[in-house]
């Protein structure tokens, strides 16, 4: 079985957006896990919540991924993009969990659960379209928009080819643009 969370798989990452990079600290050994956690946990959780369309599972996935990062911080901290690694580990954890329980696409029975809290009704067609995208397509969009990753960086984080990133992105954008145009 493929080990999807091995840090070596993301070593090829080229550059890191400034706001995703670990904070600079005045030590010779790099940032501590605690610093990394404080800087990145909320951001990773937000990205996972949008990707998974489930804030609760995203919380669980973030915690699990952060625990794995903590357990092997020596190696993870050497990566060009530890935040991207944690995002992918969290995504893999949630995907694996959903596969185990057969929960491929969560939805809210009473329209009060899922991605958005009640004050965000998800009433617009575009938001519904975002939630209707497959998880893999949402992941590409989230990497590009919320994590500010390039196509190449997205490919590394998600362990897919750049061509796959582009094709998934094109499909997702087409669906979202259609929804947005229907709204306007």
């Amino acid at each position: 079985m493929e080990r999807e969370d091995h840090p070596a798989r993301v070593r090829g990452m080229k550059s890191v957006p400034a706001d995703l990079a670990p904070p600079v600290v005045a030590t010779a050994v790099g940032p501590s896990f605690e610093d990394f956690y404080r800087a990145q946990a909320g951001r990773v959780h937000r990205a996972l919540a949008v990707t998974l369309a489930d804030a609760d599972v995203a919380r669980e996935a973030t915690d699990e991924a952060m625990a794995r990062a903590c357990a092997r911080w020596g190696r993870v901290s050497e990566l060009d993009n530890p935040g991207g690694w944690v995002y992918r580990v969290g995504l893999n954890w949630a995907t694996s969990w959903w596969r185990k329980v057969g929960r491929e696409r969560p939805f809210s029975v009473d329209d009060h659960g899922g991605l958005l809290p009640p004050v965000e009704p998800g009433a617009t067609t575009a938001l519904v379209a975002l939630r209707g995208l497959g998880t893999h397509h949402r992941a590409v969009v989230v990497c590009r928009v919320l994590l500010d990753l390039s196509v190449a960086e997205t490919a590394v984080v998600l362990a897919i080819s750049e061509g796959t990133v582009k094709s998934r992105l094109a499909r997702a954008l087409a669906a979202l643009r259609t929804a947005l145009s229907e709204e306007s």
Binding site: A55, V101, L115, P118, R177
Partner: protein, 405 residues
């Protein structure tokens, strides 16, 4: 093939990100997971042996028996009626649904927007499997049967009327930036009779605030209001308010900035508000706002429901533990005055193999005190024949009643 992101799509995605509830995890929780993982790797062999022995002698619950004097009285809900006293608290089933449609993961087929009980598979494609709740608010009665309240709602007033808060789009089809500060959105507070007739309907939204209904008397609804810019604990400006049904006048009850953005249980007679962040239970006095208790219930699970006993002496918390081996549902009962766990009980468990075979996983569905020493826990366990069809909450609800002396 363009790979640039149009501004309107980027705005949409960022809005969805901004609408995500604040992350409530903690470094302490992460370290707890690390410790638990290491411990689990060491102990998994011996634990498996111990479990096998326990199963062989027919005392599976003995593994979970606490040091305290709790006594377990398991009671299957739907299959054989329970006989319990008239409960102090009603047990409503609050559980999400999920459906897997045919096809390999992932699929881009969007699920139906609404469930249609008149159609086969509730409107899903043939071969779909999963769990759905249809028809209204579900309640597990003392005799073990499930009743549906078509009026729906989030909770019930003492007089039996249903109360709910839900969003209403006042400008459907109009494109605008979503988020807590979005325009043309109402948060409607409604009171409904059992027949669905509405006696109160009022917009309780305050721009750029989250609002959550957490309790009600016959006269007032209790709402938690959290400013949208409060992102990390403590949440500045978060407060519990009492909203008078008759005229909409609100009074501040207490600040709840140390709670995790909501009140998970409100016990008005005991003057306590309880909330969970990770598995830390925080209990506030609704009269003084002082933190009465801050108790770490567990270090390695996911806790999302708490119920205070009618006298306010005990707090029941359910915890779901996920591991590589499967999942377990536990209930813990805390004696608040003594700050001690008087009950820690395994309610359900499932292995990875079971979860692969059973499309709908076991999960907690509700929690209510029968009296000051009996807690009743509802959970979902779909029938064995659920592998190839959509099952309902009604046929999947189970319950156990636990005695804490």
């Amino acid at each position: 093939m363009s790979s640039s992101i149009p501004d309107d799509v980027a705005t949409l995605v960022r809005s969805a990100g901004a609408a995500v509830p604040p992350y409530t995890g903690s470094l302490e929780q992460v370290h707890g997971r690390v410790t638990a993982r290491r411990r689990r790797h060491v102990l998994v062999g011996s634990l498996a042996s111990l479990l096998a022995v326990a199963l062989a002698v027919g005392v599976p619950y003995a593994l979970a028996r606490p040091d305290g004097p709790a006594v377990l009285t398991p009671m299957p809900a739907a299959s054989s009626p329970e006989v319990v006293p008239a409960p102090a608290q009603r047990l409503f089933l609050q559980v999400g649904g999920f459906v897997a449609t045919p096809g390999s993961y992932p699929s881009d087929d969007a699920p139906p927007a609404t469930l249609d009980p008149s159609k086969p598979n509730y409107g899903f494609p043939p071969g779909s499997t999963g769990l759905v709740s249809v028809g209204g608010l579900k309640e597990l009665l003392p005799d073990g049967s499930v009743v549906t309240h078509p009026a729906g709602g989030d909770l019930v007033r003492p007089d039996g009327q249903f109360v709910t808060v839900y969003p209403r789009d006042l400008a459907p089809g109009v494109s605008r930036t979503d988020g807590p500060c979005v325009s043309d959105l109402a948060m409607m507070l409604e009171v409904r009779a059992a027949d669905g007739s509405v006696s109160v309907s009022r917009d309780v939204r305050v721009m750029c605030q989250y609002v959550t209904l957490v309790g009600a008397t016959d006269e007032e609804a209790y709402l938690v209001r959290v400013p949208s810019d409060a992102q990390r604990l403590p949440l500045p400006g978060a407060k519990l308010v009492a909203h008078r049904f008759a005229d909409g006048v609100e009074r501040d009850v207490v600040g709840v900035d140390v709670l995790s953005g909501t009140v998970h249980d409100l016990n008005l007679s005991a003057g306590l508000a309880a909330s969970l962040a990770d598995c830390r239970l925080v209990v506030l006095s609704t009269s003084t706002g002082a933190t009465e208790h801050s108790i770490s219930v567990s270090s390695d699970g996911f806790c999302d429901r708490v119920r205070l006993s009618p006298d306010g002496r005990l707090a029941a918390v359910v915890e779901t533990k996920f591991s590589d081996e499967g999942r377990e549902g536990w209930i813990h009962v805390i004696d608040l005055a003594r700050v001690s766990k008087v009950l820690s009980q395994l309610v359900y468990s499932s292995t990875q193999t079971e979860e692969r075979q059973r499309i709908a996983p076991k999960a907690f569905a509700g929690l209510a005190w029968v009296d000051d020493s009996h807690i009743r826990v509802a959970y979902i366990e779909p029938p064995a024949s659920s592998e190839d069809r959509i099952v309902t909450v009604d046929e999947s609800a189970r319950a156990v009643t636990l005695h804490v002396s």
